[in-house]
């Protein structure tokens, strides 16, 4: 009884973790138990780029915004990094630095325009997405060139003992960001700003700077996701990030982060991403291809958000 009470009033998203466990059990049953833990770790490895991009999206949703330029940013990082790296490890530092600086610039512009001119995040980031997409089309003239250095591909392909390096990077960033969100003044202010911008201004925070920082972090995380995705596929390919915008939003809201800002957090986004990805690979194994993925995704998002909304109302 006491545990039940505690769970009901805690902000920790238990529901999503129960769903994650249910999905894993369903996965075992659907594959008649032929799935080993190493399969799950492999799924986690493939899910890492989405996991990292979704954490960025979560930060932006927490300050009451939305970032539709995540997908275009990921595609851009892939094309820029591959074309500068040209498969050589000695170009690593320069290409990664240029890519991440571009990401920071995109995030800063998004955040500055949204916070300073009080413009709709949806529209600003949508325009930014078109501009970034246009930018990389002009840069590549429609032909994706370049490749990723073989040694760098370790960040997505490599294993440290039984654990995938990509998964470790994901969990590492998660731990660092969670610590910042829950244990630092910056994190608390981020939540308060998302919950009520006016109140946060009256409390004397520079809410404008907080909002900008969230967008910069989001674009940088999208950049890291882009690097990992590039390391995963190994070459330049136009438009590889396209699905990541809506998928990152979907994983975030499945994890219980509210659209209105200030509610939710990274601890829900992690299982949110895993649920999305495990269901997709389950569909592939059962033999329901592409179509099944979309159907399942639609149903999962709608039901999870509906449940979250009902829980909120009951409280």
């Amino acid at each position: 009884m006491k545990i039940k009470e505690k769970m009901r009033y805690s902000s920790f998203p238990f529901g999503v973790y129960f769903l994650l466990i249910a999905v894993i059990i369903a996965f075992f049953i659907a594959t008649q138990g032929t799935i080993s833990p190493s399969h799950l770790l492999n799924i986690m490895r493939q899910a890492s780029p989405l996991g990292i991009a979704a954490m960025g999206q979560t930060l932006v949703l927490l300050v009451g915004g939305i970032d539709l330029s995540v997908g275009a940013t990921i595609s851009m990082v892939n094309l820029v990094t591959a074309s500068l790296m040209m498969g050589k490890m000695e170009n690593l530092f320069g290409s990664v630095l240029v890519s991440l600086l571009l990401c920071a610039a995109i995030g800063f512009l998004n955040g500055y325009i949204i916070a300073h001119f009080k413009m709709q995040p949806f529209l600003v980031t949508m325009a930014m997405s078109m501009i970034v997409e246009g930018g990389y089309y002009i840069y590549t003239k429609g032909i994706a060139k370049g490749s990723i250095a073989a040694d760098f591909r370790i960040i997505s392909e490599g294993w440290l003992g039984p654990l995938p390096i990509a998964g470790l990077i994901w969990v590492g960033i998660w731990a660092a960001l969670s610590f910042v969100l829950h244990r630092s003044t910056y994190g608390h202010r981020l939540y308060i700003t998302g919950g009520n911008q006016a109140a946060s201004r009256l409390s004397g925070f520079r809410s404008e700077g907080l909002v900008i920082s969230a967008y910069v972090l989001c674009s940088l995380l999208a950049g890291i996701a882009g690097l990992m995705l590039s390391a995963y596929i190994g070459t330049a390919s136009t438009g590889i990030g396209a699905d990541y915008t809506l998928n990152s939003i979907a994983a975030t809201v499945v994890g219980g982060t509210a659209f209105s800002g200030g509610i939710g957090g990274l601890e829900g986004t992690f299982p949110g991403v895993l649920i999305t990805v495990i269901l997709q690979s389950m569909m592939t194994i059962i033999g329901i291809s592409e179509a099944g993925k979309f159907i399942v995704q639609g149903v999962v998002i709608a039901t999870m958000v509906a449940i979250n909304q009902m829980r909120k109302k009951r409280r």
Binding site: I131, G134, I295, A302, V305
Partner: protein, 316 residues
Amino acid sequence: MLNGSVRKHLKKAVPSYVILAVIIIVVSIVSPSFRKAGNIRNIIAQCAVLAIVSIAQTNVLLIGGIDMSVSSVISFGTIAVALYSSTGGMGLAGALLLALAVGAVTGLINGIGVVRFRIPPMIITISTQALLKGICLVLMPKSGGKVNADFASFLKARFGVMNVSAIIALVLYAVFFVIYHRTQFGRRIYAVGNGEVYAAQSGVPVRRTIISTYVISGLISAVAGIVLAARISTGNPLVGDSYAMNSVASAVVGGVSMVGGVGTVLGALSGSIIMSLINNVINNMDISPYYQYITRGLVLVVSLLIFQLRGRRKAG
């Protein structure tokens, strides 16, 4: 003839018509191939689909919502027509009904999700978008099928520079202009968009109004899908994808606010023409086609800035 509130909403559409006029005048002077009747006919034919979807999107934006599922409804429309229309008149009628029914049901699910389960409009419409996209891919994994040839040539039949699809779009704009600015339902939409609580206190059936707008959005998107099917002559499960974002952009460029309650459907018309025109202009001016994305983005930014500055001047 036009009362104050209609004039206020129409004023929001003025900048987009100015931008449109400037683009047309400048490009006509610079590029002789742009002025040719054949090209103008082309542009008008290209505009029809986006113009129709933009009505659907405007309708939902006016109540402060958004509809991302228009893309899948459009794709489904092309698939329904391509799969069933070539067998004759009965098949065609069935295909059109099926497309419209699926549009309406999608809208109904969106509307119920928003008012009954309080799911944010963006999320519930992303869900139905994914769900319906899956169904489209089951029915037709790759583009294919065949659109009834008579039906396609009817929608492409020309009257001067206009074709039937464009005329359908214009008629829909006229109908919705009257609905929004002359009927009780239209006043209710603006009332809900300006604040659900106040609207409810003044006796507006808020929930019913919201659900109706989503159903209308689904129906109009289905019409856009049917018109698109005639243009491309096949069904395609992904052909509608770009229309979700582009219809939002068109409406916003046309002065429709995303917060709800401000703007007019006539603005969406000029907005959608600007958005479709960019492609054609870039081809006719011999600029690399890769500049079209960036130009669309910049046009969106410029119009956002115009509205922001105008709004600020009024406030200050």
